[in-house]
């Protein structure tokens, strides 16, 4: 009832989409693809339009390249000049392919030689989500907690900096963002009791410039006089300590394993923090700041500007690490700098990125884990029937732990004004139990079993209109969607499925225009670039794995539905539909 009232109030606030996003930073449409999100605004929108709705059906393979690995390939390839760069899952090889020569042969390979033992502390497959390019260097993270800078021309290592310790369960899987001469990186390990951080390294030397922890006292979190959160719930001194039981913040998660966006005008970086640890909520009463929320920070000093918590005292492992798409949009007739976020807890947020105000938060799928977002206080309203607690199995929670959408990024087209969201439709049974902290081992405390949500389809591809606050069209997919999306100025949108279909849809109405069956399931991020011959290409990495595909990549036994932290229950049929094997597919018009 309260939700409906709020919906009415919000409906009164008419919001119209602006028909153009402002591509920001160096990621413009020069035909290159220098960072996984394409640009600082994280649009994953390519202005190339040779491939369009009319001719996409003729796409043919230009070349392929095998990575030689069987784990999950979540990365986006990069294209800089006439070279394509691919960073693989563990052991984190960096391949450079020469696009000047036919068949794009291997130019060089860089092997960072990460510690084999790091595989044992990487939750949910040993993936890597990509590299970033700036000033003649490729930057990426290794599973055993090094950030590496490699000369983009020669493949020689320029510097490497150790940032974490695998004996504490720390790993690094995210793609760095290079902004303001700094390489921004974060750690993974929300399932291992790892305290999260975002670190800025000097791009030239690899020295640490600043580190902002996600839990603990204000000086660790880099909260100072500039910190002005919009909502009262996020204000107060040392909330990173006071909203936890004693000592719990030291092992409380909030890892920064997802996406970072950057607004060069405001000089602010935006990124989300992961779930609080352990999953058993009874072991961490309180709001568990600053986990499962979003920070805006000054890129130069690292000082926090604002913060908003999507899931205070998270009950379901709903990390807040998803990508934020930065656009300018008309709200009540006035253009505002906003941030769009298809959040894991099931709501599509439109936020003012200057102040941190939530302008809209609407469910983009089946949500019963919470009753809505109170736009007055900014607080998520928990559903009393679905509150998880130790010693009890709570059934039928939607969305499940990986959320309505996990890390796999959406794309935004300024031409259609729509956000293209590859996501899931999963529900779960959640039994919280006591978790025991032993450094370097899992700190979870939950028996989870996932299954398809209402309708029986496990994946959904939604085109969301952020202005009208509703879905314009959606495609139901049998398997969960774990790949990123790409949209181009030819009004074609691309994504892959876990059984290996790479699909091209009409961006305006979702009509299937073309599809290609890859050798393994696709969980990577497609890209589009202009090759040295002037033609527009589409490239994507196949190679099933990740949390959703761990049942294949890890050779798990799907008879146990709780395998892979419960995801095996939802993807028990996957081993019968695909096998592992990393392969780059590159497409071009004949």
């Amino acid at each position: 009832m309260r939700w409906r009232m709020r919906a009415c109030v919000m409906a009164a606030l008419a919001i119209w989409p602006a028909m153009q996003a402002r591509a920001q930073g160096n990621g413009t449409d020069d035909g290159q693809w220098v960072m996984p999100a394409h640009d600082y605004a994280s649009t994953r929108f390519s202005r190339l339009d040779q491939i369009n709705r009319g001719n996409v059906g003729q796409l043919k393979i230009a070349f392929t390249f095998s990575t030689g690995l069987l784990k999950g390939h979540e990365a986006a390839p990069l294209v800089v000049g006439s070279t394509m760069y691919i960073v693989t899952p563990f052991p984190n090889y960096l391949y450079a392919l020469d696009l000047n020569r036919p068949g794009a042969p291997l130019k060089w390979k860089y092997d960072p030689k990460p510690a084999a033992a790091s595989q044992g502390v990487a939750c949910c497959d040993v993936v890597n989500r990509g590299a970033a390019y700036a000033n003649g260097r490729i930057f990426f993270n290794t599973l055993d907690d090094y950030t590496v800078a490699v000369d983009a021309e020669t493949g020689a290592e320029v510097w490497r900096t150790k940032l974490g310790d695998i004996n504490l369960g720390e790993t690094m899987t995210m793609a760095p963002l290079v902004a303001d001469g700094k390489v921004l990186v974060g750690n993974s390990g929300g399932e291992m009791g790892v305290r999260g951080w975002l670190t800025a390294l000097d791009a030239g030397t690899g020295k640490i410039v600043w580190r902002a922890w996600s839990t603990g006292p204000d000086k660790d979190v880099l909260i100072g006089p500039d910190f002005k959160p919009y909502y009262a719930m996020d204000r107060g001194k040392d909330l990173g300590v006071k909203t936890w039981p004693p000592e719990a913040w030291k092992i409380g998660g909030g890892n920064v394993w997802g996406w970072i966006s950057y607004d060069p005008e405001l000089k602010l970086v935006y990124y989300g923090t992961g779930n609080p640890g352990p999953w058993n909520p009874d072991q961490r009463p309180g709001d568990n700041k600053w986990t499962a929320g979003i920070f805006a920070r000054d890129v130069t000093t690292g000082q926090a500007r604002w913060y908003y918590q999507f899931s205070p005292h998270d009950l379901f492992d709903h990390d807040g690490i998803n990508e934020q798409i930065l656009i300018t949009m008309k709200v009540n007739g006035k253009p505002r700098k906003v941030l769009l976020r298809a959040e894991r807890n099931g709501y599509f947020y439109v936020m003012d990125r200057v102040t941190g105000q939530v302008i809209a938060a609407d469910p983009y799928g089946n949500v019963n884990a919470s009753l809505g977002v109170d736009l007055k206080t900014g607080r998520l309203i928990p559903n009393p029937d679905k509150v998880t607690t130790q010693g009890k199995v709570v059934r039928g929670i939607c969305p499940a732990s990986p959320g309505m959408k996990d890390w796999n990024p959406a794309a935004f087209s300024p031409r259609t004004g729509l956000v293209y969201i590859p996501h899931m439709n999963l529900c779960m049974d959640y039994g919280a139990m006591e978790a025991n902290y032993i450094a370097g081992t899992p700190y979870v405390g939950a028996d989870v079993k996932m299954y398809a949500g209402p309708g029986g389809n496990r994946g959904v591809f939604t085109a969301w209109d952020p202005g009208a606050r509703k879905a314009v069209w959606e495609i139901k997919e049998d398997l969960p969607l774990w790949s990123g999306a790409l949209v181009t100025a030819g009004d074609v949108v691309f994504y892959g499925t876990m059984d290996g279909w790479f699909k091209a849809l009409d961006a305006t109405n979702g009509k299937l225009l073309w599809q290609f069956k890859a050798g393994s399931g696709i969980i990577g991020q497609p890209i589009s670039y202009r090759a040295p011959d002037g033609k527009q290409h589409i490239a994507v990495l196949a190679g099933v794995g990740g949390w959703a595909g761990a049942v294949v990549a890890g050779g798990l036994d799907p008879r146990d539905p709780t395998a892979a932290l419960g995801f095996a229950g939802a993807t028990a049929d996957l081993p019968g539909k695909t096998t592992g094997g990393g392969m780059l597919y590159d497409f071009v018009l004949p």
Binding site: G193, V241, K242, T243, W244, P245, P246, E247, K250, I251, Q283, P285, G286, Q390, G391, K392, E434, A435, N436, Y437, I438, A439
Partner: protein
Amino acid sequence: MSKATQAGMGGGLLLLTGCAGVQSIAPSGGAHTAAFNNLFVIFLVVCGFFYLLVIGFLGAAILRRRREGDTGVPMLFRAWVALVSVSLVGLAFASWLTDRAMASYSEQGSPVRVRLTANQWWWDVTYFGASHSEDIRTANELHLPVGRPALIELKSNDVIHSFWVPNLAGKQDLIPGRTGDIALLPRKSGVFRGQCAEFCGAQHAHMALTVIVEPEAQFRAWSRRQLATARTPTTAQQLAGMAYVTTRECATCHAIAGTSASASVGPDLTHVASRSTIAAGTLPMGRGGLYAWIADPQGVKPGAHMPYIGLEARELDAVVAYLESLK
């Protein structure tokens, strides 16, 4: 409390003199037990009176046969029915009043909130502070201020246990998967003994809880000490013990605030030496107890989850020296 009930209670106590001590319902350390004792005395007096009366009537009936020509209900019988009815209603009323009184105790003053989690075979104790960052974790020992109600949340991690501190209140079961509660209102200072009152496995008998009721000021001082992180060791031996405890077998089960040991399977050891017993009332706290317990836990408490580790003498000395310093 009326003179009559006091007198009655005196009589009742006389009967129970054999039961006084740290684990007894008689001395009434808590408001609930006191209220219950009063009710008990009322029942005892009323029922005793009727018992004697009935015995008297029975004797009279044996001695005196029925007379010729008696008809109708005799006056005496009517009076008897009236007396019984009034007494029964009176007892019901007394029970109801006692029940109301007991329910009201939890509202007398600002309560201390505690969560008690039963494990085989020890008690995990969490005090909820003003904010969760002021929560206190301890084990097998409950400190309560005099005159303030304590609201205790009861949980179990494995099997059914029962919480029973006879000096303070009645029993309440702890059932896995459910949250129970009980309110206490201690009325006088003292050390009382609680005991698991539901058979819960091999070491059910060794699952005691020490309850220390103390004046408010002392309770606050205790809370402050408990909230602090563990004392940093000073001697080389203690440091060696700390190194062992925080990196070896001990740290896979126990937590010591301020160190890297943060496990929660066994009792929190941050201030272990400030407690009065080891292993839920099995051994007295002290050097001898610590040596015995760590050297051979399965000899002291067979079946307990504390494993035999096989420490060398030097290591054992160091570990005991360190634990002893955790006041």
